[in-house]
């Protein structure tokens, strides 16, 4: 199917755009590279779908080491998410919080809860009903970049907005 081959094209684009040499999130192209946007074949993606959100909006923001406030350069990303969620009011999301591997397990759980909550608060402040946004802290348990260097850690200090229901397909 043409849709399937498109998926592979998007996947390889995203992999190319990730600076790390380690492929991450294989099998789930959408959540790989973060703010890549850049999809020129948007007509193939149904508006209001998971893929629309991931590819055309961007599902994640990044944080500084040991910090949980939304960085200035990440605000536009969350504003785009809020605008999209307003357009599709049936969509429910969970914001997953993550930390890099350079912290203890339990502290990282707490830190990732703060990160998820910061992103949630931002969405709520931008007009999204709080009951549409759950949070799930995942600490350092689910890295996407597997290198052991700052470039990988920066990819892993993230909050990812995951659609749980209400999206078109």
């Amino acid at each position: 199917m043409s849709f399937k081959s498109l998926t592979y094209v998007v996947a390889s684009l995203l992999l190319l755009s990730a600076c790390s040499s380690t492929p991450s999130d294989s099998g789930n192209a959408g959540s790989t590279g973060g703010n890549t946007g850049g999809n020129t074949s948007g007509t193939q993606i149904a508006p209001g779908s998971d893929r629309d959100f991931i590819v055309n909006v961007g599902d994640r923001i990044f944080f500084d080491t040991d910090k949980f406030s939304v960085r200035n350069d990440q605000r536009a990303q969350l504003e785009k998410q809020a605008a999209w969620l307003k357009r599709y009011p049936a969509v429910m999301v969970t914001v997953e919080g993550h930390a890099d591997e350079r912290g203890t397990r339990e502290y990282n759980l707490a830190l990732s809860e703060k990160r998820a909550n910061s992103a949630k608060d931002f969405l709520v402040a931008n007009g999204i009903a709080a009951n549409r946004v759950k949070t799930l802290p995942l600490g350092k348990e689910r890295p996407v970049a597997l290198g052991h260097d700052e470039a990988s850690w920066a990819q892993n200090r993230r909050a990812v907005t995951v659609i749980t229901s209400g999206a078109g397909s």
Binding site: S24, D25, D66, F68, T94, E101, R102, G103, T104, R105, E106, Y107, L109, A110, L111, E113, K114, N117, S118, D121, L136, P137, E141, R142, P143, V144, L146, H148
Partner: protein
């Protein structure tokens, strides 16, 4: 004879005085924050352990029992079992004193002998004789009866008896370790609760890996483990009953609960709850199910751990800007009492665990790399015992002399995560062999 006996005790003691001196002097000398790489002067004590005597099928069993005992004692770093190939001759009976000359020439300070006898049904009788080779005295003699399948446990109990008789300290061999077994790709590790004897034997899994599980801890009083599970994508603290396999979520908290540990009497679980971007410390009484909030601070308060008398709690908090260790009364801070910071070295401090002896707190230190260290309960006398790309999660053996922890090592591609033990001298580090990757160890109390 009495003089000889005292002489013996002195000669034995000399081995341990050296170790104690290391413990006593290093804290003062090493106020500075570095991994201590000085080799201690502790000399392991040469001991001969002969195959326990047995007839028929029990001949092999007697050999296996001796091997388990020797391995326990050797891993402690305080004993050096003599290679049986060097034995001059081995007694055919334990009913008479041994030929001490044959053991003296090997420089064995102590000689452990034993016998296995089949009793009715599936029962075994296992005897131990521990001899002072140079004093030509029996140090202890013990008899145990058990079912045959329990032979490993009896071996550990005998190793504990030898350890205690010679060092004067309680042993820790008749114990288990619960931990998290890891497999699968790093992006999506499969994690299972697993349990094993402290020497890695009798290994089995407690959960199937469907749900992410983390940070188990033993109950001090019941066959229970508290841990964290992501069952249903709701990260919460659970209790696992080892005998029934039953898993039960603890309480009805509105946010993530994590970092659970039992109170020393086993009646409470202390843990953190994170909600709306704030993490505080709570307890739940397991009898009344009443929950109590102990801290109320906008920072992250987590990794709580009771002192062995239950009167204090050490925990980590970033309330001062970075992760540091604090001590508060067990009643908490909501009555106006303030926790006192105890860690002041450079770097961050995490995962404090109070020694069963009461006088020491072990921790993870983060600054550049990661280290496992110990300090007094007032934060003084810091000493670092182990380090690595990542080391974390120290847990005390019940005698307070050995810590288990986990370490991630970088490989040319990827990394590997394994369990280790280190003793208080920092000299005797050992890997605990596990079937796959392993993290988050927790040492059981002595099995009742």
């Amino acid at each position: 004879m009495l003089r000889q006996r005292l002489q013996f005790i002195r000669s034995i003691s000399a081995y341990f005085v050296a170790a104690l001196c290391v413990l006593a002097t290093i804290p003062a000398a090493l106020a500075e924050v570095r991994v201590d790489v000085t080799k201690g002067s502790a000399q392991p004590l040469p001991i001969a352990i002969t195959d326990f005597l047995g007839t028929g099928q029990d001949e092999g069993l007697g050999r296996n029992i001796a091997r388990v005992i020797a391995a326990d004692l050797e891993r402690s770093g305080l004993f050096k079992p003599i290679d049986p190939k060097a034995f001059v001759s081995v007694e055919k009976s334990i009913d008479q004193p041994p030929q001490f000359n044959n053991w003296r020439v090997l420089k064995a300070q102590a000689l452990a002998q034993g016998r296995v006898t089949a009793e009715g049904g599936d029962r075994l009788r296992v005897e131990l004789r521990l001899w002072d080779v140079f004093g030509e005295q029996q140090m202890t003699g013990q008899v145990y009866t058990t079912v045959r399948s329990n032979w490993r446990r009896i071996s550990h109990i005998i190793a504990d008896a030898i350890y205690k008789r010679i060092t004067g300290e309680e042993g820790y061999f008749d114990t288990r370790i619960v931990y998290i077994s890891e497999s699968g790709p790093d992006q999506r590790k499969i994690k299972r609760l697993a349990i094993m004897d402290q020497d890695g034997e009798n290994h089995h899994f407690l959960t199937d890996g469907k749900d992410l599980v983390l940070t188990p801890r033993f109950s001090p009083s019941r066959q229970e483990i508290t841990y964290m599970s992501y069952y249903g994508n709701l990260p919460r603290v659970y209790i696992y009953n080892i005998e029934t396999g039953r898993q039960e979520v603890l309480g009805d908290f509105p946010g993530m609960t994590f970092a659970p540990r039992f109170s020393p009497d086993g009646n409470k679980v202390i843990m953190s709850m994170a909600r709306n971007g704030n993490t505080d410390i709570w307890t739940m009484d397991l009898r009344t199910r009443a929950v109590t909030q102990l801290t109320n601070n906008s920072g992250i308060d987590t990794a709580p751990y009771y002192s062995p008398d239950g009167s204090k709690i050490v925990f980590e908090s970033d309330r001062g800007g970075t992760q540091q260790l604090y001590v508060m009364d067990a009643s908490g801070e909501l009555n106006g009492a303030q926790a006192r910071r105890i860690s002041f070295g450079t770097g961050r401090y995490a995962t404090p665990v109070w020694s069963p002896r009461g006088d020491t707190i072990a921790f993870t230190k983060i600054g550049g790399g990661f280290q496992i260290g110990i300090m007094g309960t007032d934060g003084k006398g810091e000493r670092l015992l182990a380090d690595g790309f990542l080391v974390e999660s120290p847990t005390w053996a019940p005698n307070g002399r050995v810590l288990a922890f986990y370490r991630e090592r970088l490989l040319p591609r990827g990394k590997t995560t394994k369990l280790y033990t280190i003793d208080l001298t920092g000299q005797n580090e050992r890997e605990i062999l596990t079937p796959s990757e392993a993290s988050d160890p927790a040492w059981s109390p002595l099995i009742p």
